[in-house]
């Protein structure tokens, strides 16, 4: 609903809301913003830059391995590129892209709220994320990037075997990054529990929101073991503790347990938002609601829960007792079930509806195919003897790229097309978008499918070079060619979006007739999201035309427009009854100042200036105090 078409009284209320919610213009506005949409865009563009960096690392790796005895990279450069590729794609691209960019932008819109529950904490999450990413990439510029692989096993990561700053950049960078993610996850959980539109009881939450809830819960339970592990590592490296040192009663396997207790839930953290995107796109283009909706919602939560019981399957070759192996294998097989429920729910929704195979749905179709391939090879690792043969080979590399690139990134790409009109108010170019899908899809298969074969032919992962004569050469060449095709496909996508941002046809508020609330407001949405807090009576509220017409009437009458102050509505946790009107904080420079002082803290920890680090922790604490004391009065 654009302002011009509103009746006079409603228009006046909307204008008033605009004045209240409008933020400062210009660069300063971006630095102090607390608007979830602007923060979402900051996340989006930042993660895209890191995606580019991780992509360049991938192309360097593939160029080095295009044929035997490659000489493009030195062993040290290869190890850094290989490690940073993994670290970047997981911690600086997929998670901040799905949780940070998509989650931030879409959650309040889908819930019918005006912002996240803690807008300043949200800004802090972004600035901490930026700080941690830059911190890690300073390591790259210094030639001291982490070089121990993304899971960086002990004792290879200890000072004795990695004497430079490389592993310190890794440990501190990831602790830093974890702060950002934890803050974001807490914010999402509270938002999902408390800021849903009235009438949106738990069973009427969009499936994307279920997925984000599952992700956020996973994150706050998965990150502490990682952080603990990294703190242990820094204590061993720089203070003289012996957590992983067998000679002094430590144990190198402790690292693996703590790492994978984080690391496997992390896999589901990576893919759950993708599932949420799929369950947003499919109903829209199949033009019907999801089949087996409650089962799919439950499945999303179950994936996250079971994901905590499978970490041992990364350690089948370490000599764990057989009983433990069998437990982890059984749990790993159980996690197949919630995934299978979702796959068949998607497939039958498409079959039952009248699907319109436009670019977003094409990407989801590709996602389903790639996810099933990666899932089926994943099941094979739950067969312990097969895992013990193929773990740490390219077969594993193939498997997790089908999951992380195929199953996580394809929906991200489809989602970019899908929500592009919402964010920019313009349509992307459909024909070129469909072409970009096919190029990306073929590139993906060409890059990652042959990795299964070289893995079975005995090629181990993380080798910077290999001999001629094992039958690996042709497959490796295909992978390298595929990587460049894939890169071309990605360039097509971003070129399309960039062109369409300026030249695209105006899209209107709801070009695809989507079912969730983000389509009920203008494109792009106003700073206050909705001129009136919408009410909800089904999981697809935008298809309930009567409710949306009622919104207009309520806006005119001033019911739940909340146009007198910077406010949004909180509802009860289970049933979504209207509970209390919340006063929302306005823009602030404190989040970026806290993030800046914490950045100094991490630089000081890196250079072992512990006293200075302590001083800056205190400073950050003072700023946090100021942030709460100096709450400006309402405009």
């Amino acid at each position: 609903m654009t302002l011009e078409v509103l009746p006079p009284l409603a228009r006046r209320r909307a204008q008033r809301l605009g004045l209240i919610w409008e933020e400062r213009p210009g660069l300063l506005g971006w630095l102090t913003t607390v608007d979830h949409k602007r923060i979402g865009l900051l996340y989006f563009f930042t993660t895209l830059v890191f995606f580019g960096a991780g992509g360049i690392e991938a192309l360097l790796i593939r160029t080095q391995l295009a044929g035997p005895n490659g000489t493009v990279l030195s062993p040290e450069a290869f190890n850094q590129a290989m490690t940073m590729h993994g670290v970047t794609m997981i911690f600086l691209f997929v998670i901040p892209m799905t949780v940070g960019a998509f989650g931030n932008y879409l959650l309040p819109l889908m819930l019918g709220a005006r912002d996240l529950a803690f807008p300043r904490l949200n800004a802090l999450s972004y600035w901490l994320f930026l700080g941690s990413g830059l911190f890690l990439y300073v390591g790259v510029l210094l030639g001291k990037a982490p070089d121990c692989g993304w899971f960086c096993y002990a004792p290879l990561n200890t000072k004795e075997y990695d004497p430079g700053l490389n592993a310190d950049f890794y440990a501190l960078g990831l602790i830093f990054n974890g702060l950002s993610t934890t803050a974001g996850a807490l914010n999402f959980i509270v938002t999902i529990f408390k800021l849903r539109a009235p009438g949106m009881s738990f069973n009427r939450m969009p499936l994307f929101v279920f997925a984000m809830l599952a992700v956020s819960l996973s994150l706050i339970f998965a990150l502490p073991p990682l952080t603990t592990n990294l703190v242990f590592l820094e204590l061993q490296r720089n203070v003289g503790f012996h957590f992983f040192d067998v000679a002094h009663g430590g144990d190198a396997l402790l690292w693996q347990h703590l790492f994978w207790l984080f690391g496997h839930p992390e896999v589901y953290i990576i893919i759950l938002p993708a599932m949420g995107i799929a369950t947003s796109i499919i109903p829209t283009f199949a033009r019907r609601k999801m089949v087996a909706f409650p089962l799919v919602a439950l499945a999303e939560l179950l994936v996250a829960f079971i994901g905590f019981g499978v970490w041992g399957h990364h350690m089948f070759a370490t000599g764990l007792p057989v009983g433990a192996l069998i437990f982890f294998a059984a749990a790993s097989m159980m996690v197949v079930i919630p995934s299978a429920i979702q796959i068949f729910a998607w497939l039958f929704t498409v079959n039952l509806g009248r699907p319109d195979f436009r670019a977003p749905l094409l990407f989801i179709g590709g996602f389903i195919a790639l996810f099933v391939i990666g899932g089926l090879s994943g099941i094979m690792f739950a067969a312990i003897p097969f895992d013990q043969a193929t773990t740490d080979t390219y077969f594993v590399v193939a498997h997790f790229h089908f999951i992380i690139f195929g199953a996580a990134v394809f929906p991200i790409l489809g989602g970019m097309y899908y929500w592009f009109p919402k964010v920019t108010g313009r349509m992307y170019h459909e024909r070129w978008a469909q072409l970009s899908f096919w190029v990306t899809f073929l590139g993906t298969l060409l890059t990652f499918f042959p990795m299964h074969v070289v893995g079975l032919l005995g090629m181990t992962r993380r080798v910077y070079t290999y001999h001629h004569g094992f039958g690996w050469d042709a497959y490796n060449l295909s992978e390298t060619v595929g990587a460049f095709v894939l890169a071309a496909g990605l360039i097509l996508i971003f070129a399309n979006l960039l062109w369409s941002r300026f030249r695209g046809v105006p899209s209107g508020p709801d070009p695809f007739y989507g079912g969730t609330l983000e389509w009920a407001t203008t494109s792009p949405p106003p700073p206050y999201n909705f001129p009136v807090i919408p009410t909800v009576s089904s999981p697809y509220p935008n298809w309930d035309r009567a409710d949306r017409e009622e919104d207009l009437r309520r806006l005119e009458q001033g019911v739940l427009a909340l146009e007198h102050d910077h406010e949004t509505l909180a509802t009860t946790v289970r049933d979504g009854y209207a509970d209390v009107v919340l006063h929302m904080p306005s823009e602030s420079h404190w989040p970026i100042v806290v993030a800046l002082s914490l950045t100094v803290v991490f630089v000081m920890l890196l250079t072992t200036h512990f006293v200075v680090a302590g001083i800056f922790v205190g400073l950050a604490g003072l700023v946090l105090g100021a942030w709460h004391v100096r709450e400006p009065a309402a405009e």
């Binding site: 429920i341 039958f348 009248r354």
Partner: protein, 323 residues
């Protein structure tokens, strides 16, 4: 970087998981083919449903009739019931039964035990009860069950000979065992499978399976001390070895060289490869290696030695006599 890195020509087998040469690896291969069959069925089902969705994009009902309820029932049937049945079967078969064939051999159930210790970046191989110490080339008698007990001297490595059995991680302070059995005379390449630092790529291994008599002869030879250099050139080489720093890191049994940093060189000439099975062991490659050890395998612990070409030639002559 790895200039001159050519795969040693002596190899017969590859590293193909699906070319089993032992009962254990055979059972892994069977497991794979069955799982692959199942995976194809699953993938075909999904692909058919995707294609049907596209072909029938203008029709509301399911291809085989039925609406919402039928679809929900299919989700339950295919998404819950079928996976439970199939995976229970796979679980029982692979993780209760097949797992036994890759289990560590019971204590005392094998005729021979070999100790393997991972180093950055080579394999130290010992035969308990014998004096034999060698590196990177693990000899076993053919058609014989051999218990390989592994640990590490530094970081985690993983011992893997793809055509013979699963892999075991070599972890500080722990030992893991794997049964090695070769049903055919030959050389089976293997590789470190756990990332272990700069030269992880060049931590290779050869398992040489030979007839029992030849194996016994080899083991007997390896257990003896080194012969002193014969001829002026070799003798000068031995002198250089003992005085120019080589002996600080390498052991040659029967001499004063007792270093424990690099591989034992007592019978280095009996090995077919050098530097973690990275380069062939011949006069040219050995000379190139001694001239610049950082060329073929940058980052390894062997320093460049301040030796003249003549000295290097003498050293090579000596080392080549260490059969």
């Amino acid at each position: 970087m790895s200039g001159g890195s050519v795969r040693p020509a002596t190899l017969l087998a590859g590293q193909n998981v699906l070319h089993p040469h032992s009962p254990a690896e055979h059972s892994i291969t069977v497991l794979w083919w069955v799982m692959l069959g199942g995976a194809w069925i699953g993938l075909t089902l999904v692909a058919v449903l995707l294609v049907l969705g596209w072909v029938r994009r203008n029709r509301d009902a399911l291809p085989f009739g039925g609406g919402e309820r039928a679809a929900t029932r299919l989700v339950v049937g295919l998404g819950i019931v079928t996976p439970i049945l199939v995976l229970t079967g796979l679980f029982l078969w692979s993780d209760i039964f097949v797992i036994r064939s890759t289990a560590a051999p019971a204590r005392g159930s094998t005729a021979l035990t070999v100790q393997v210790t991972g180093h950055q970046w080579f394999w130290e191989i010992r035969y308990p009860g014998m004096k034999a110490v060698t590196a990177n080339e693990l000899h076993i008698p053919v058609d014989t069950r051999v218990n390989v007990v592994g640990t590490t001297a530094d970081v985690i490595h993983s011992l893997w000979v793809p055509e013979l059995n699963r892999k075991i991680d070599l972890i500080p302070g722990r030992t893991n065992s794997v049964l090695l059995y070769a049903d055919r005379v030959g050389t089976y390449p293997g590789q470190c499978a756990e990332f272990c630092g700069l030269q992880h790529a060049h931590m290779e291994l050869l398992v040489v399976a030979e007839p029992r008599a030849r194996f016994e002869q080899w083991l007997h030879g390896e257990s003896g001390s080194a012969r002193p250099g014969t001829g002026a050139e070799a003798q000068r080489g031995q002198q250089l070895f003992l005085t120019e720093g080589c002996a600080d890191c390498h052991q040659i049994r029967g001499t004063s060289a007792q270093g424990q940093v690099g591989p034992d060189l007592t019978h280095v000439a009996s090995r077919t490869t050098l530097a973690g099975a990275t380069i062939p062991n011949d006069r040219t490659d050995l000379t190139a290696w001694l001239r610049d050890p950082q060329r073929a395998k940058p980052g390894n612990k062997m320093p460049e030695l301040p030796l003249s070409s003549r000295d290097i030639a003498a050293l090579v002559s000596y080392l080549e006599e260490l059969k």
